[in-house]
């Protein structure tokens, strides 16, 4: 499912991607799913009202499993129920809200991160990016009444970093389920319950306040909060580290980033994300026969596996040299910068702009620190859970305060 650059007239078809090899070796579309890699077809299918989410067998995205939509995160719903629930929280992710509310959270969080890094002299970069991602997502969700941010982050990580897809024997699965129930229970008691109690007394503008108002069940609240957590925290942690890695390695790009206006900084980040999308595959099932704009046919019941990586490097939309990091590409091609990296259609990532803003603020501050340097490169790992990369072990250092 890898796109091939047909004609790349400059730089001998340079390939700036860091995550392509591990993705190619590990990407696992669902058995029997039809691969889709062209940008146009991907967009048509993802935007079609005739497709439904199609997760792995047994996931809550199977229609048969969604007997009670109130207990399923809206991330996994479709149609009117999905639209209604997404619309109810749309304002939390609007550009105006980011500017008037979230940017202040991002900036103050970065103050804390910088203070921590300067006091220690060096730190694992994914630990710092995780801190930022957790605080920002927690504020949007409403997880702001925990005993401490660090403990909240650890409890969320304990739940989200576990993977049901890891192979285990029958006994191992039982042990794992008990561990998971314990971890989720801890998250409920120590993070969700105090947040809910606070919002029952005084509603705020966040997801938990909405769920309290709409009388969500305990299971429904946990599912929704963890889905936001997974989407907003885990992926942003990786995105920040990936962008930092590229900027550490490319002095000219780093100089342009630090000297550029916000729009240019976003163009750089979006172009990195085009080449290094954190999630790589999206599965959809046709609820009825579909004929796309290009005349492609998808039969009712057929599952398609949309490759974000292939769509993002489709020369029909990127122009030549699709594997080169070229921040001017999107403007030249008159397209929106992240291409398909945040998905498309009704399930496009609601927090896309939030992620871009927090990454911009994080990196703008990090690279202005005196003596900032990368002491150790990250190791690229693969997460079967999100079908995407994880970057661990990167250590950054700066001059002490």
């Amino acid at each position: 499912m890898t796109a091939v650059a047909q004609e790349c007239p400059v730089h001998q078809g340079r390939d700036d991607r860091k995550s392509a090899k591990i993705a190619e070796a590990n990407l696992a579309p669902q058995h029997g799913a039809r691969p889709v890699g062209s940008f146009g077809l991907s967009r048509d299918l993802l935007r079609s009202s005739k497709v439904r989410q199609a997760g792995p067998a047994g996931s809550p995205t199977d229609d048969a499993e969604i007997k009670n939509p109130g207990e399923v995160s809206f991330f996994f719903l479709d149609g009117e129920e999905h639209r209604k629930r997404r619309a109810a929280v749309a304002g939390l992710f609007a550009p105006k809200t980011i500017v008037t509310r979230h940017q202040a959270v991002m900036t103050s969080t970065m103050d804390d991160i910088v203070a921590k890094l300067r006091a220690r002299g060096s730190a694992p970069l994914d630990e710092l990016s995780w801190h930022m991602a957790v605080v920002v997502a927690a504020d949007i969700i409403g997880l702001t009444d925990s005993d401490s941010t660090e403990n909240l982050a650890n409890r969320v990580k304990a739940v989200l970093d576990s993977s049901l897809s890891k192979s285990r024997g029958p006994l191992g699965k039982v042990v794992f389920m008990i561990q998971m129930l314990t971890r989720v229970g801890r998250f409920w008691k120590q993070d969700m319950v105090p947040a809910i109690a606070a919002r029952q007394l005084e509603p705020k503008d966040d997801v938990i306040s909405y769920m309290v108002k709409e009388n969500y069940s305990k299971k429904g609240m946990i599912m929704e909060a963890l889905s936001y957590g997974g989407a907003g925290m885990m992926t942003t942690r990786e995105f920040i580290v990936m962008c930092a890695w590229h900027l550490f390695e490319k002095p000219a790009l780093r100089e342009r980033f630090l000297g550029g206006e916000e729009a240019d900084q976003f163009a750089i980040l979006e172009e990195i994300l085009r080449l290094e999308p954190v999630a790589s595959l999206l599965h959809r099932r046709a609820a009825e026969d579909i004929e796309t704009k290009d005349g492609a046919m998808v039969k009712k019941g057929e599952v398609v596996a949309v490759s974000i990586r292939d769509a993002n490097t489709d020369e029909a939309i990127t122009g030549p040299c699709p594997f080169e990091l070229d921040p001017d590409r999107a403007k030249r091609m008159k397209v929106v910068g992240p291409y398909m990296s945040f998905s498309d259609g009704p399930h496009r990532c609601p927090g896309a702009q939030v992620a871009l803003h927090e990454t911009r603020i994080f990196l703008d501050r990090l690279f202005r620190l005196p003596g900032i340097r990368m002491e150790r490169e990250p190791e690229i790992l693969w997460s079967p859970q999100i079908q995407g990369y994880e970057l661990r072990g990167c250590v950054v250092a700066c001059d002490p305060a």
């Binding site: 639209r83 980011i98 498309d344 496009r348 896309a352």
Partner: protein
């Protein structure tokens, strides 16, 4: 082709030859109308492709629907005739359409 005129907040006018079956937003971006940001690329999830429909055309295009309203409200934009241009499909009936664009989309 369908002639559509964009009037910027400073009064500058530009008429484009819009392609049918694409959205008004896609036509604007493709023709370099910088006041249309469309950061979600046409999914009605960002509210940064807002336009104000000229009064003479509001009857033709109608009001913003339930897909558009949450993001228009989130943008705090109460200007009469406001719509998300990503939700308007260009058809031959829109030949001569005039829209205005805001000072800022965010």
């Amino acid at each position: 082709m369908v002639a559509i005129t964009f009037i910027a907040a400073d009064g500058a006018e530009r008429t484009i030859d819009a392609s049918e079956d694409l959205s008004l937003m896609e036509n604007a971006v493709g023709n370099g109308i910088e006041a249309i940001e469309a950061v979600c690329s046409g999914n009605a999830y960002c509210g940064t492709c807002r336009v104000y429909i000229d009064p003479a055309w509001r009857g033709v295009l109608g009001e913003a629907g339930e897909i558009e309203l949450p993001m228009i409200e989130a943008a705090g934009d109460e200007t009469p005739g406001v719509r998300l241009s990503c939700q308007i499909t260009v058809t031959p009936e829109l030949d001569g359409l005039v829209v205005r664009t805001p000072v800022s989309q965010s």
